[in-house]
Amino acid sequence: MQIFINDSAFEVPEKASAEQALVTFGAKPPFALAVNGQFVAQGQYQHLALQDGDRLDILSPIQGG
């Protein structure tokens, strides 16, 4: 199935977990995850089964005012 991570398309197995998606993307700590605009806590990565078309945002620290 196809998911989108930070607006780029990725192919992952059916019912892939959020954790698998993070590995596919190559996410580097520190980061936080949102799926379809909803925050997903670290402890949920293994248990959250993704669905086709899900949109993931992986965010990391940046300068801010």
């Binding site: 980061f31 936080a32 620290p61 300068q63 801010g64």
Partner: protein, 263 residues
């Protein structure tokens, strides 16, 4: 004399909060932050692999050992704020959140109505909310009534450097909310603006562009630190009363006699 800035029970010696964005280089950012004597630095979150930021930036901030204040800059809805705030809490390991919720893209003015909703929901989720708002007294009162111990009205729109557009409004907020920690955020351009904010009774100022955009950000950081302290000392000292007519400062008693003959 102990004169501490209090933010949700934590005490700080510096009354200047500094942003980490827009500097010519990470090295310059680091030096300017240190030169400012600030103890609190603002940060944010963006998509990984985006051009700005990265590991080097975050390591530099961590190495300062300063308190970080993450923001929700760029959010246009309550849901966006809630999601980004929770992500910030996890990454930065702090309950503090600088609540930014933009209502108008032209002047980046906070949405006062949605801001109240967002603040209420963040407080209910255990966040210590520092809301960036306009200088509307009633909005500030409502935010305080919700439980915000810190209120951060703007001086002028973000990044304009115009200084305090409405001193009366800020003074009114100070007078009507004497127990709230009042931090003037955004729109300050030069150190005298920070000094004025402190003289009006602000507990602190938060700024970024005015330092990062200076020709010499490190020197400007020092200037803002001095101005902020001067304004605070002026407020505590209590200024003289303004008069409408001239009053001589040198005693008139004992004037020499020739003065009378010259008239």
């Amino acid at each position: 004399m102990s004169d501490k800035l209090t933010i949700y029970g934590q005490e700080f010696s510096s009354r200047l909060l500094i942003g980490s964005a827009l500097y010519p280089s990470p090295k310059c950012m680091h030096e300017a932050i240190l030169a400012s004597d600030s103890e609190i630095v603002t940060v944010s979150l963006r998509r990984q692999n985006s051009r700005a930021g990265g590991d080097d930036f975050w390591q530099l901030i961590k190495d300062t050992g300063l308190t970080v204040l993450p923001n929700t800059a760029g959010c246009h809805s309550v849901q966006e704020v809630l999601t980004l705030a929770q992500m910030c809490r996890e990454v930065f390991a702090t309950d503090w959140i600088k609540l930014e919720l933009i209502g108008d893209d032209y002047n980046l003015q906070p949405d006062p109505v949605a801001l109240l909703d967002a603040a209420e929901q963040l407080l209910a989720r255990g966040f210590k909310v520092l809301p960036y708002c306009t200088d509307d007294l009633v909005i500030c009162q409502r935010l305080a009534a919700l439980g915000c111990e810190v209120i951060m009205p703007w001086a002028a729109p973000i990044g304009t450097g115009k200084g305090i557009l409405n001193p009366y409004a800020l003074q009114s907020i100070r007078e009507r909310l004497p127990h709230v920690t009042l931090i003037v955020d955004a729109g300050l351009g030069v150190p005298s603006h920070a000094c004025q904010a402190m003289e009006l009774g602000a507990d602190a100022v938060l700024l970024n562009s005015a330092i990062a955009g200076a020709n010499d950000p490190v020197l400007m950081a020092k200037a803002f630190a001095n101005a902020t302290l001067a304004g605070r000392q002026s407020y505590l000292a209590g200024p003289m009363a303004v008069k409408s007519t001239a009053v001589p400062s040198t005693p008139t008693l004992g004037m020499p006699v020739w003065h009378q003959f010259n008239e």
